[in-house]
C-alpha cells in the first residue's frame, strides 16, 4: 500500500457513499449536494489517472456549473422556503433487481475479460499541451461540432426557458 492507494480508497468511498445518498436520500437537496461531492471525488480520480487538465475541467464544469444549475433548478421548482423537500420513489423492487443484475453482469465482465494492459507505471507528464494539440489536429471536427452544440444548447435553453408571454411578441 502506497499513499496513492489510500487516496484512491478515500475517493472511491466518497464517490460511492455520495452516490448512495443521491439515490436513497429522501430530501432532494441532500441528493444534489451529495452529487456535488461525488463529482468532486471523480475529479480526484482523474488526478490519480494522470489527467490533470481533465480534473480541472471536471471541477469547473461539474462542480461549479452543473451542480449549481441543478441546485437552482431544485430551488426554483420547489417552495424554496420549505425545508421538507421530500420525494417518493417507485418501482423499488423491479428497479433494484434490474440494477443488481446489471452490477453482477458488469462485475463478471470486468473480472473475466483479459484486458490488454499496456502500462501500469507511468511517469506523470503534463497533458494540457497534448490535449490542445489533439484538439487542433486529429479532433478538429468534433471540437468544432462541440462548439456548435454549445451554441445550440445555449440558444435552445434560452428559448425553452423564457416566459410564454414574450414568445408571442
Amino acid at each position: 500500500m502506497v499513499p496513492a492507494d489510500f487516496v484512491f480508497l478515500i475517493l472511491a468511498t466518497l464517490i460511492v457513499a455520495c452516490g448512495f445518498v443521491v439515490v436513497f436520500h429522501s430530501k432532494i437537496i441532500y441528493s444534489a449536494f451529495a452529487l456535488l461531492f461525488s463529482f468532486f471525488g471523480v475529479g480526484g480520480i482523474y488526478i490519480l489517472l494522470n489527467a490533470d487538465f481533465l480534473a480541472g475541467t471536471q471541477l469547473i464544469v461539474y462542480v461549479g456549473g452543473i451542480s449549481v444549475l441543478i441546485l437552482f433548478g431544485i430551488l426554483l421548482t420547489k417552495k424554496i422556503y420549505n425545508l421538507t423537500t421530500e420525494e417518493t420513489s417507485t418501482q423499488k423492487i423491479i428497479g433494484g433487481a434490474t440494477s443488481l443484475a446489471f452490477l453482477g453482469a458488469l462485475a463478471a465482465l470486468i473480472f473475466n475479460t483479459d484486458w490488454q494492459i499496456v502500462t501500469t507505471t507511468q511517469e506523470f507528464t503534463p497533458q494540457t499541451l497534448e490535449i490542445g494539440k489533439a484538439f487542433m489536429g486529429n479532433f478538429i471536427l468534433p471540437f468544432e461540432l462541440a462548439a456548435i452544440l454549445l451554441l445550440v444548447a445555449l440558444i435552445g435553453a434560452v428559448i425553452i426557458g423564457r416566459d410564454e408571454k414574450k414568445e408571442e411578441i
Partner: protein
C-alpha cells in the same frame, strides 16, 4: 513516506498560518482604511499590552496607540461566543457550509507562487486549478443560505451564486489572453517570464516575450487588468458588487444566521478569497515576486521575494477597500448590464486583439 507526510503537514500549517494572518491583517486594514476615509481614527485602544492584560485577567487599562491587536481581540471574542443553530435550520448542512466555503478558499492558497522556490504546490495548471477550486466555494454559499432556513440568507445565497457564476465568464476570457501570451498555465513560469525591469510586467504589454513590438499590447493589457480587477471584486462580493450581503436589504446575506466562530470562518474565507483574487492579479499582471528593478532581485536578500509579493497584494487590497468606501452599491439589473453589455464584449475584443497579435506579430 514519512518525509512526504511531515512536509505536507508543515506546508499545511504554514498555509493555515498565512490564511489566518491574511484575514487578521485585512480586517485591521479594512477598519483603519474605512475609518480614515470617514474622518475617524478607527481602532486605537487594543494594543498587544492591553490584550495580554485582558487575557491574564488584569483589569488595568493600558492605552494603545494604533490598536494593532484589535482583530486578534475580535477573534478571541468570537471564539468565546455561543454557537447558535437556528431552530428551523438543517443542522448538518448548516454546520458543513462554513467548512466548504473555507475549504474552497484555503485550497486556492496552495498554488500561489510566493517566491521562486516557495510555491506550496507547484502545479503545471496552477491558474486553472485556482479558478476551478474557487468555484467550489459557491456551493458552500448556496448551502449556507439554504440550510439557515432564512429568507434573507436564501436570497443572499441565490444572488451571490448568480453573480459569481456570471462573472466567471469575463474573468476566464480575460485570463485566457494572458495564458495565450505566455503559453503556459503555470503561475510560476508566468512570473519568471516577467522578471527584470518593471516594463516586463504583463500590465505593460508583452515586452518580455516579444521585444519592443509587444508595446502594441499595452492598452489591451490595461483594459484586461481593469476587467479582471472589477470581476474579482464581483467574485468576492465586495462593494460596489456587494448585492449578496447588502446590509440595508438583506441583513447580512447568506451568513445572517451564523454566530461565533462559524461567522468568523465565513469572514476569514471572504478575506482569503480577496487575497487570492488579488494575488492572481499580481502574479499575472504585476510581476509576482519581482520587484521591477533587476538589481534588487539579483541582490538575493533572503525572504524579500515573498515580502514583495505580499506587499503588492496588500496594495491591491487597499485599492479594493478604497473602492468599497467610495462607490455605492449597484442594483441587480445594473450588475448584469455591466457584466453582459460592457465587460464581456470588451474581454472578447481584447481576446481577439491578442489573437491577431499572436498570429501575425510573433
Amino acid at each position: 513516506m514519512d518525509n512526504i507526510l511531515v512536509w505536507t503537514m508543515i506546508s499545511i500549517l504554514v498555509m493555515v498560518g498565512l490564511v489566518s494572518v491574511v484575514g487578521i491583517i485585512s480586517i485591521y486594514l479594512e477598519r483603519k482604511v474605512s475609518a480614515f476615509m470617514q474622518d475617524r481614527l478607527g481602532p486605537m485602544e487594543v494594543g498587544f499590552g492591553s490584550l495580554a492584560n485582558a487575557i491574564i485577567g488584569k483589569k488595568t487599562f493600558k492605552e494603545g496607540r494604533i490598536g494593532l491587536a484589535q482583530s486578534l481581540a475580535d477573534g478571541l471574542k468570537l471564539l468565546q461566543k455561543e454557537d447558535i443553530v437556528p431552530k428551523g435550520a438543517d443542522v448538518f448542512l448548516f454546520k458543513l457550509a462554513p467548512m466548504i466555503v473555507f475549504g474552497g478558499t484555503f485550497a486556492a492558497f496552495a498554488a500561489l507562487p510566493l517566491a521562486e522556490y516557495f510555491v506550496p504546490a507547484d502545479i503545471n495548471i496552477g491558474l486553472f486549478y485556482i479558478l476551478a477550486i474557487s468555484s467550489f466555494g459557491v456551493t458552500g454559499i448556496l448551502m449556507a443560505g439554504w440550510a439557515s432556513n432564512n429568507k434573507w440568507g436564501l436570497l443572499g445565497a441565490l444572488r451571490s451564486t448568480a453573480q459569481m457564476v456570471s462573472y466567471e465568464i469575463p474573468i476566464g476570457v480575460s485570463l485566457i489572453s494572458i495564458v495565450m501570451i505566455c503559453g503556459t498555465l503555470s503561475l510560476k513560469e508566468m512570473v519568471l517570464a516577467q522578471s527584470g525591469w518593471f516594463w516586463n510586467w504583463h500590465l505593460f504589454g508583452a515586452i518580455s516575450h516579444n521585444g519592443a513590438i509587444g508595446i502594441v499590447l499595452l492598452p489591451v493589457m490595461f483594459i484586461n487588468f481593469l476587467i479582471y480587477f472589477t470581476c474579482s471584486l464581483a467574485e468576492t462580493n465586495r462593494a460596489p458588487f456587494d448585492i449578496p450581503e447588502a446590509e440595508s436589504e438583506l441583513v447580512a446575506g447568506y451568513h445572517t444566521e451564523y454566530t461565533g466562530m462559524r461567522f468568523a470562518i465565513f469572514f476569514l474565507a471572504e478575506y482569503g478569497a480577496i487575497f487570492v483574487g488579488n494575488a492572481i492579479a499580481v502574479t499575472l499582471f504585476l510581476g509576482g515576486w519581482n520587484s521591477g528593478i533587476p538589481m534588487l532581485d539579483e541582490a538575493n536578500i533572503p525572504g524579500i521575494a515573498p515580502l514583495i509579493f505580499i506587499t503588492k497584494v496588500f496594495v491591491l487590497i487597499f485599492v479594493v477597500m478604497w473602492v468599497r468606501w467610495t462607490l455605492p452599491r449597484l442594483r441587480v439589473d445594473q450588475l448584469m448590464n455591466l457584466c453582459w453589455k460592457y465587460l464581456i464584449p470588451f474581454t472578447l475584443f481584447t481576446f481577439f486583439y491578442v489573437t491577431i497579435y499572436k498570429v501575425f506579430l510573433t
